[in-house]
């Protein structure tokens, strides 16, 4: 029983990453009508910014003592990756407006391959451990009903806070209202004097920034590898198909619960743990083709 509980909590932690990634995918899809295949690559990029910042960056600029610690990485990696994302949007994705949605998928797939291949040249595909886990997050915490690794707990709570803050921003603030209106009818919103192209760029930057943030949080747990994003994005796609991209809260709930189910499967029948999400997707497609929270 306890083993199931531990795995469920660990899975929930993973599910929080799924939630953050599918959230970003949903926001980007809403405004740009692009399924961002490069999302996994930006997640990986986030983890690599943290790793490089800690171990190599100082050496590159001739100040070997400079180490960008975990807390700074948590702030800087999403910014750096968000900026790269905005550049990508401005120079490439923008030129696809009015074309078939599938072109967006193919273009971002190409971007994902370029990023992944680039890092695969310099870093071991088996993964490099991130050595910068903060000291206060070492060890385990007693949750009353179980012992749980402190860092995992922190990552879980932090991701949940970010997810709900995003939900609040989109569903409850003025900026979010403009964003939602832009999703419905960008022409009309532009007529009201909103700079929609800028909004699109910022949205893309924000979405991939979220992915990078998840990447930084994941770095101390898993090893940092050029392939970590590709493995992730396929699962997140399944999560998105299950939940539907129509609802922000739907993305969060689906991500969390699927992570948890995946964790529980590890105890119940381990060989199925890597495929359970895809199998659930197949079942959902049979029962509710539009997804649990979807509207097609």
């Amino acid at each position: 029983m306890n083993a199931i509980l531990v795995q469920a909590m660990l899975g929930l932690n993973n599910g929080a990453f799924y939630a953050m990634l599918s959230l970003g995918l949903a926001v980007i899809f809403g405004l740009l009508n692009i399924v961002n295949f490069a999302h996994g690559a930006f997640y990986m990029l986030g983890a690599f910014v943290a790793l490089i910042g800690l171990t190599q960056f100082g050496g590159w600029i001739g100040v070997p003592d400079l180490q960008v610690n975990f807390w700074w990485a948590l702030l800087l990696a999403p910014l750096v990756v968000g900026l790269i994302g905005m550049l990508v949007e401005r120079t490439m994705l923008r030129r696809l407006s009015g074309l078939d949605h599938l072109y967006g998928l193919l273009l971002t797939f190409g971007i994902a391959l370029v990023l992944q291949g680039f890092f695969a040249n310099f870093y071991n595909t088996a993964g490099t451990p991130y050595p910068g886990k903060p000291e206060i997050l070492e060890g385990v915490t007693d949750l009353g009903f179980m012992m749980f690794p402190t860092y995992r707990l922190f990552a879980l709570v932090f991701s949940l806070v970010v997810c709900f803050a995003t939900w609040f921003m989109i569903e409850r603030t003025k900026l979010g209202a403009i964003l939602r209106a832009g999703t419905e009818n960008p022409k009309l919103v532009e007529a009201f004097g909103v700079n929609v192209p800028l909004l699109v760029t910022l949205t893309y930057g924000f979405g991939v920034g979220l992915a990078a943030l998840a990447g930084v949080l994941a770095a101390p747990i898993y090893s940092v590898s050029p392939l970590m994003g590709a493995d992730m994005i396929i699962v997140v796609f399944a999560v998105v198909v299950i939940g539907g991209m129509g609802s922000i809260m739907g993305s969060i709930v689906t991500g969390l619960s699927l992570g948890m189910i995946e964790g529980i499967t590890k105890v119940v029948y381990a060989p199925a743990s890597s495929t359970v999400v895809f199998l659930i997707m197949a079942v959902v497609l049979l029962m509710r083709p539009a997804g649990l929270f979807g509207r097609e």
Partner: protein, 325 residues
């Protein structure tokens, strides 16, 4: 299709093994058939499958196992692989056609990942090593396929057969309905066509042919590996089709030749190949949406006239006869 094109293809095919390394040409042909099968779906039905490696690699594993462990003859092995890929296509297709566009792509990708994990973890597949040492055997119990040239002409025959089948399907009334679905699905539906069934049949044909390609590849190289079922292979067949020209008959062949040659010529630069493949994707989508064959046809049209094709490739695979909206 043009008779001269066929004659040229056959002559080139007959001569090729004396000019190039036969195994290399066989690899080209297998991937060309794979891309043609894929193009039937993307180019002529407008469905982007991101999981075609499951059929290609799945068939490779099944044929490999059948020939190696059960001792089937190569022709039966290939048939079995093809049939298995068709059945798998029926399952994946009937799930995936419940959604449209990008969702279709994501679903096929996710379902193909199940096949990948099965190939990785099942007891008969050899895990990380893949299935090694598949015997080529004797075709019909008579022709020794260990002889490189014999194997080559079998592969050529399979490729030409598959290519002919695709051309035939595209030109048939059935193919016309597929194109109608690609152009305007609601209209095809309102004309009374059972769109879902047509899509599913196209998916099964495409999956089965991809299986033929994979099964043949398994015999040529005498192994089936995880690369065959990996999502990167699914991506590569998309690139072959896109680069050669989506919705052109010859495009996938040209695209497959280009991508496979690129891989073999650039194998010395390691992971940079992935960067180049990715960059090719980007360039194709941004600047080059008609693909090599599509651009050449357009150039020819501009030079020598011919029916105007108001074809700006806003849709992934618009027909030459697409009307101006």
């Amino acid at each position: 299709m043009n008779r001269w094109l066929w004659i040229a293809l056959i002559v080139l095919g007959l001569v090729a093994p004396f000019v190039f390394y036969p195994v290399f040409v066989m690899k080209l042909l297998c991937f060309a058939l794979f891309a043609c099968a894929f193009n039937l779906l993307l180019g002529y039905t407008g469905l982007l499958s991101f999981g075609h490696a499951a059929f290609f690699g799945g068939a490779a594993y099944i044929t490999g196992h059948a020939v190696k462990v059960w001792g089937l003859t190569p022709e039966l092995g290939i048939l079995l692989g093809t049939a298995a890929a068709g059945v798998l296509g029926l399952v994946v297709g009937s799930l995936a056609i419940r959604r449209h566009g990008i969702y279709f792509a994501m679903i096929t990708l996710a379902l193909a990942q199940i096949v990948y994990f099965v190939a990785l973890k099942a007891p008969y597949t050899g895990g990380e090593d893949g299935l090694q040492g598949i015997p080529r055997g004797q075709l019909f119990g008579l022709i020794d396929l260990e002889q490189s040239l014999n194997m080559y002409y079998l592969v050529l025959a399979i490729f030409l057969g598959g290519f002919w089948l695709v051309a035939r399907v595209v030109d048939s009334p059935f193919g016309q309905v597929l194109k109608a679905i690609r152009e305007n699905e609601p209209r095809a539906l309102s004309l009374g066509y059972d769109v879902a069934r047509f899509k599913l049949i196209a998916f099964v044909i495409s999956a089965a042919l991809a299986g033929t390609a994979g099964a043949t590849k398994a015999l040529v190289f005498q192994f089936a590996t995880l690369t065959d079922v990996h999502w990167a292979t699914s991506g590569e067949v998309v690139l072959m089709t896109l680069l050669g020209g989506v919705g052109t008959l010859l495009g996938p062949v040209v695209g497959a030749f280009t991508v496979v040659s690129l891989h073999s010529k650039l194998s010395f630069i390691g992971a940079w190949v992935t960067v180049i493949i990715g960059a090719t994707f980007i360039v194709c989508v941004l600047l080059f949406r008609r693909g090599i064959v599509g651009e050449l046809a357009e150039l020819y049209r501009k030079q020598f006239g011919g029916p105007r094709r108001p074809n700006n490739h806003k849709k992934l695979a618009p027909s030459p006869r697409q009307r101006e909206a």
